[in-house]
């Protein structure tokens, strides 16, 4: 958890970006928004503007994960967990003013983090965040790593939909989220569980009497 003045500056940076974008936001703007002097800001962020924006992005991701964790913890079963997860994550992205400003007006600042290999660390981070919420609902016989797999799968559905405004199955809507989970995700999870059970159980014919 960052200390209070640091967090105040990071929040101020996000507010500035949601108003004017990144290109037009100066260190002075952020200092003014945070109610501190330029000198104090540089003492808190000796790396300057770039480091500040990077940390602001990381802090936002952590904040969103924190909000999601609350919803995921409350889910009574796997279906509710998956539906709530994709819906709330999609909403968090849709309602994030700074991110939406950048996607609409300054995509060159966000796309490099979302395209090709650059997305991998975000997928891994999100999967590792969500997996512990998925695991208890998969049952004790679930194959190792299925929790991470399902978590990454959901992350991909959310990101794919969030970055494509033309998508009709807007996952911020409960009904659309339910449909994708019921039609395509839960049957896949069941198949993975069934295959793991079948592989675990020795086939009768292959059994050699001792």
């Amino acid at each position: 958890m960052p200390d209070e003045p640091v967090q105040r500056v990071l929040d101020a940076a996000i507010r500035c970006v949601s108003r004017w974008g990144m290109a037009k936001t100066s260190v002075e703007d952020i200092a003014r928004e945070a109610g501190i002097s330029r000198a104090t800001l540089y003492r808190l962020f000796p790396g300057g503007r770039d480091v500040l924006f990077e940390q602001a992005g990381e802090a936002e991701l952590a904040r969103i994960f924190g909000l999601l964790a609350r919803d995921l913890r409350a889910a009574p079963d796997l279906r509710e967990l998956l539906v709530t997860g994709v819906q709330q994550a999609s909403r968090a992205i849709r309602d994030h003013d700074a991110l939406q400003y950048l996607l609409a007006h300054e995509p060159e600042h966000v796309l490099p983090f979302l395209a090709f290999d650059a997305l991998d660390p975000i997928l891994v981070l999100a999967a590792e965040f969500a997996a512990p919420f998925v695991a208890p609902h998969l049952g004790p016989d679930a194959p190792e790593g299925l929790d991470l797999e399902v978590a990454e799968w959901l992350t991909r559905l959310v990101i794919g939909c969030a970055l494509d405004p033309s998508r009709v199955d807007d996952l911020t809507r409960r009904q659309a989220a339910e449909r994708v989970i019921d039609r395509f995700v839960l049957p896949g999870v069941e198949l993975a569980l069934a295959e793991a059970r079948a592989a675990d159980r020795p086939r009768p014919r292959a059994e050699v009497p001792a």
């Binding site: 995509p107 060159e108 796309l111 490099p112 395209a115 090709f116 290999d117 650059a118 997305l119 991998d120 997928l123 891994v124 999967a127 991470l148 797999e149 990454e152 799968w153 991909r156 559905l157 990101i159 794919g160 939909c161 494509d164 998508r167 199955d169 994708v180 039609r183 395509f184 995700v185 839960l186 049957p187 896949g188 999870v189 069941e190 198949l191 993975a192 295959e195």
Partner: protein, 207 residues
């Protein structure tokens, strides 16, 4: 996406007709970007590399630098799409077709030295340009997905159009970023396709 850049013109036999000028300019642009970077590449550089005057370049490519870059990206993207389509066309089975597309597509993206170079050093302009090819890529994949699913027994309640959208979207997600997966591992990709892409789409055999 041919891996090495410059092979368009590298051979001894060069097509002679004037309608190949755009092709020569694309090859020259790619070589310039490889040598000095995307932002730093100018119309003058490309003209010199192609052995043409600046005026000739502008006559064929009135949009100047922006159009040269757009042409080059569109040409490389078109090659990639052709290879992807071929790989997915080769087999009729949905699992095999999607697996082949993911394995080839991932490898082609990773082996494209120039693409990786620009992504590492100055991705901004390239990504904006690639976004223009996205609908084309989406269209090719969706068309192939629909073709391999058509006529197959689908799971109860699953509609072809909806399944096509779902599979296409997830396929493109993996094609771009492999995340925790190793898309060079055919067995892993096979399992990925069966469980995540098609697990809820195809009717189960035998129940």
């Amino acid at each position: 996406v041919g891996g090495r850049v410059g092979h368009v013109e590298a051979g001894a036999s060069r097509p002679s007709a004037g309608d190949d000028t755009r092709g020569r300019l694309v090859a020259a642009t790619l070589r310039c970007v490889e040598a000095r970077g995307l932002q730093a590449t100018t119309v003058e550089d490309v003209a010199r590399e192609a052995g043409m005057s600046r005026a000739t370049v502008y006559r064929h490519v009135p949009g100047g630098r922006a159009q040269l870059v757009a042409d080059a990206v569109a040409t490389e993207a078109g090659r990639f799409l052709e290879r992807l389509r071929e790989a997915m066309d080769e087999v009729d089975d949905p699992v095999a077709s999607l697996r082949a597309g993911l394995v080839l597509g991932h490898r082609a993206i990773h082996d494209h030295a120039l693409l990786q170079q620009v992504l590492r050093t100055e991705p901004g302009e390239l990504l904006a340009e690639l976004a223009a090819s996205e609908p084309l890529l989406h269209g090719v994949v969706a068309e192939r997905v629909r073709a391999v699913l058509e006529g197959r027994p689908l799971a109860p309640g699953v509609v072809l159009g909806e399944a096509t959208d779902y599979v296409t979207s997830l396929f493109l997600s993996y094609l771009g970023s492999q995340g925790r997966w190793d898309l060079a591992d055919e067995a892993a990709v096979d399992r990925l396709v069966r469980v995540q892409l098609l697990g809820g789409v195809l009717a189960r055999r035998g129940g």
